[in-house]
């Protein structure tokens, strides 16, 4: 075979990864096999190639043996390709004279037979050796990072991330779907395990968002479209009309009193429909912004056009109310995005045998959060829908969690919030409280101590999943009560416990609109529907789309401390990008060999980024490498082979195909 590459000198490095690879792939045999392949001048195996001594091995060999191509057979390139490319660079070699062979995730971990796994690893190494001979030196491009940040979601995660960035001097666009920021946390009374008041720690942060000069807050708004790439995203934000101008409104709320509805008649979403609001309303007294919103579904003027419009009268000279307001579209440019879109609670009505929606005294935990809240619908009094004070309360854990029929995951917060609610209900009513649990999960700072405190407060804990909630009484003691039927798995018999009130500890699930958000931002979801992080341990707030970060429960169930920590991490990741000022781009872009291009324009229709233009003067296509994202679709479509892709050249892939099939 004549050598088209000059003096190609390949070094092959096989990693044991402790025993992760070595247990299933015969690494010694693999290294010996690699040494026999064409152009390979050196083949080594080493315990941990990614460690500093492992990398040093490569750097030293490049110098000592004049290596000019490197193949590392170890884990997934998604984990350590960057590590080894950097080692090449430090060793004085162009980092793209490198190819990585995945013999861990895609060989040793998925196969059981050592001979087969080793044979497959040999094929893959052979493919890489053949491929790398064709590699060309490449340079990474640089893209400037726009310093502004888009934070989507105004719960505690979004608020914390926005404030962190704004305090660092970056401009943040905080976009929230609801008319107020605050998210779920604004609905809570106390937070576990410290029992500090949720409002006291949240509302100051909410008003800080409102008054911060570096934050543009758009509530009642959603992102409808995102274009661009890391450093240069263009987002379209749809601002729904609230019919009260945010700039003109002073927040006096006189329009609320003036509404022709003297009594509030519309179920109040913020209070979980346990109270009523008017068609013009403010979600809750500490809402940010402190601007009412008109609900066109229930406002008489919108429905019939025959209202006296007393709200406008009350507003007087401010003229803040504009019933003809239209949706507004804002176009913004940002460099990075933090998604903090949160969660929704499991719909308890999906489990019919727990009687939610059937028995009025079955509540969800979030409803009870509002009941125990001093600013809630009952002023903090725990009273049933019929006005009675409950004497006995059952808290049913794991509703929509750890259940094959609904969601298999543990929602992480329910044990702790159930303990908190047990404490609060007992404090407010003195009721006897029964917790029905599968396992108590209290693995946070101060959590187990809180559990002990509840045990000392003589709250009852019964280990067993509740079979049903029924009003079918068997004896007079159960009359007029809800009966919990559950197997007490510690005592070993089925119990019937009559109670006045049932609290369903509903789990956390991905929001219904998560798939839409995912599509708009082009990120991945895990199988259960939460957004997928780039790496569960090493890149927990990154996504596979550069410049887009995750914070809070949109990534998975978590409590407030973890959410805030993650929001801080996401802000730090964004800051790191912004302060670097630029990001290096992968060089795997397409380019046109003008001498070969016949000007058929096939490639142009292939490109979703309009990166290819037609140069009329020379009748050829041309790729704008800044716009090109490197998918290679145009390359595969070009009938004359004129469009080529760096790092994925036809020659390279053909060599790879021949390599994997070399012993077929």
């Amino acid at each position: 075979m004549s050598d088209p590459h000059g003096a190609v000198r390949i070094g092959v490095y096989t990693c044991h990864c402790g025993t992760n690879i070595a247990a299933t792939v015969d690494v010694k045999a693999l290294a010996q096999f690699a040494a026999t392949l064409p152009h390979v001048v050196l083949s080594r195996d080493y315990k941990y190639m990614c460690s500093d001594p492992g990398q040093e091995l490569i750097r030293q060999d490049i110098r000592d043996h004049d290596l000019n191509r490197i193949v590392v057979a170890s884990c997934s390139p998604h984990l350590h390709e960057h590590t080894f490319r950097t080692a090449l660079k430090v060793g004085g070699l162009n980092p793209y004279y490198f190819h990585m062979v995945n013999i861990r995730e895609q060989a040793s971990w998925v196969h059981v037979d050592k001979a087969q796994a080793t044979r497959k690893a040999q094929d893959l190494v052979c493919a890489a050796v053949r491929r790398v001979a064709f590699h060309q030196p490449l340079e990474r491009g640089r893209v400037a990072i726009h310093p502004d940040v888009l934070v989507l979601g105004g719960g505690i995660a979004g608020i914390h991330a926005a404030l962190t960035l704004a305090n660092a001097g970056k401009h943040v666009f905080l976009v929230e779907k609801e008319p107020t920021i605050g998210g779920h946390m604004a609905k809570f009374d106390k937070t576990f395990p410290t029992l500090d008041c949720a409002a006291c720690i949240l509302t100051p942060k909410m008003s800080a968002v409102r008054s911060h000069p570096n934050i543009t807050l758009w509530t009642y708004s959603e992102v409808t479209r995102v274009d661009g790439y890391v450093g240069n995203y263009k987002a379209t934000v749809l601002r729904h009309p609230r019919y009260v101008d945010e700039d003109l409104c002073a927040g006096c709320l006189e329009c609320l009193d003036a509404c022709v509805y003297k009594q509030a008649k519309v179920p109040d979403e913020f209070n979980m429909r346990l109270s009523k609001r008017k068609p013009i309303y403010i979600p809750f007294p500490q809402a940010v912004p402190q601007v009412p919103v008109i609900d066109p579904e229930t406002c008489i003027q919108f429905k019939s056009g025959k209202c006296k419009k007393t709200c406008i009268e009350a507003c007087g000279d401010r003229h803040a109310i504009n019933l003809h307001a239209e949706p507004e579209i804002e176009e913004i440019e940002v460099g990075t995005v933090i998604l903090a879109t949160g969660f929704q609670t499991f719909d308890a009505a999906r489990i019919p045998y727990y009687g939610y929606g059937k028995y009025p005294n079955v509540y969800t935990a979030l409803e009870v959060e509002r009941l125990v809240n001093a600013s809630g619908p009952t002023g903090g009094e725990v009273i049933l829908r019929d006005g009675r004070k409950p004497q006995t309360v059952a808290i049913v854990h794991c509703v929509g969690s750890r259940d094959e029929n609904t969601h298999r995951w543990c929602s992480r917060v329910c044990c702790m919030y159930s303990l908190k609610l047990a404490h609060l209900i007992k404090e407010h009513t003195g009721a006897e409280i029964f917790n029905f649990y599968i396992d108590m999960r209290t693995p946070g700072k101060g959590f187990e101590e809180f559990y002990q405190k509840l045990l000392n407060e003589r709250v009852h804990f019964i280990r067993g999943r509740v079979a049903e909630v029924t009003d079918w009484e068997l004896d007079p003691s159960e009359e007029g009560k809800l009966v919990i039927r559950a197997e007490d798995t510690l005592a070993g018999f089925v119990r019937r416990i009559p109670v006045d009130m049932v609290v369903l500890a509903t789990g956390l699930e991905p929001r219904a609109d998560a798939p839409e958000v995912r599509r708009i931002f082009n990120i991945s979801c895990a199988s259960e529907g939460f957004f997928l992080e780039r790496h569960p341990k090493l890149a927990p707030v990154n996504t596979f789309t550069d410049g887009i970060f995750l914070a809070g429960c949109c990534q998975g169930p978590k409590d407030i401390p973890d959410t805030v920590a993650q929001a801080g991490a996401a802000a730090a990741e964004a800051l790191a990008l912004i302060d670097a000022g630029y990001v290096e781009t992968e060089p795997n872009t397409a380019h046109v060999e003008e001498a070969v291009c016949c000007g058929c324009k096939t490639c142009i229709s292939m490109c979703p980024y309009r990166a290819i233009s037609f140069v009329n003067e020379i009748h050829k296509s041309r790729v704008n490498e800044v716009l090109c994202k490197g998918c290679g679709t145009c390359v595969a479509a070009c009938p004359s082979g004129a469009v080529r892709q760096h790092l994925f050249e036809d020659d390279e892939i053909f060599a790879e195909i021949e390599g994997v099939l070399s012993n077929a």
Binding site: S76, V110, H111, N522, K629, F654, I657, L661, A664
Partner: protein, 152 residues
């Protein structure tokens, strides 16, 4: 070792070249690894950035060089990292299916699957199923038969 994963001597072991896109199916194969899901060692992965990069020539080259089957893995429709490369892959796949049929290659030897980054187990299901199919079909090139694809 599960019984069905044990290699049986003398049994035909089909060779599959798998073109997996970097963002969905390659990650699914990585996830299968981190989840320690066990499956047949017959498929060998060639990573491409997008299923849209899979050139008709790659498929023909693989068949010509001894593959008994070719698997293309991409993101689910609507989920492509590059917006619509997977649709282009689908179009090309349909074309190649017709082409190989005319060459006397069974259509089942070429397979296109949408496997998202979260579907590690789907990689196992697809590979195992394809191995089963190919074992039923037997080797693409019977001993002594000329290789009509060698020109590719």
């Amino acid at each position: 070792m599960p019984e069905d994963l044990k290699p049986k001597p003398d049994e035909f072991e089909p060779r599959i070249v798998a073109f997996f896109c970097n963002w969905c199916t390659y990650l699914a194969a990585d996830l299968a690894g981190t989840s320690r899901i066990k499956y047949a060692a017959n498929a060998e992965v060639v990573r491409v950035m997008c299923s849209g990069r899979v050139d008709v020539q790659f498929i023909l080259k693989a068949f010509a060089k001894g593959a008994d089957g070719v698997l293309i893995g991409g993101c689910h429709p609507g989920d492509c990292h590059y917006q619509e490369g997977n649709y282009k892959a689908l179009r090309r796949f349909r074309l190649v299916q017709r082409l190989i049929r005319q060459m006397g290659i069974e259509e089942e030897r070429l397979r296109l699957e949408w496997i998202s980054a979260a579907e590690g187990d789907r990689v196992r299901v697809v590979v195992e199923d394809m191995v089963k199919t190919l074992k039923r079909l037997g080797p693409l090139r019977k001993p002594g038969q000329p290789n009509l694809l060698e020109v590719a």
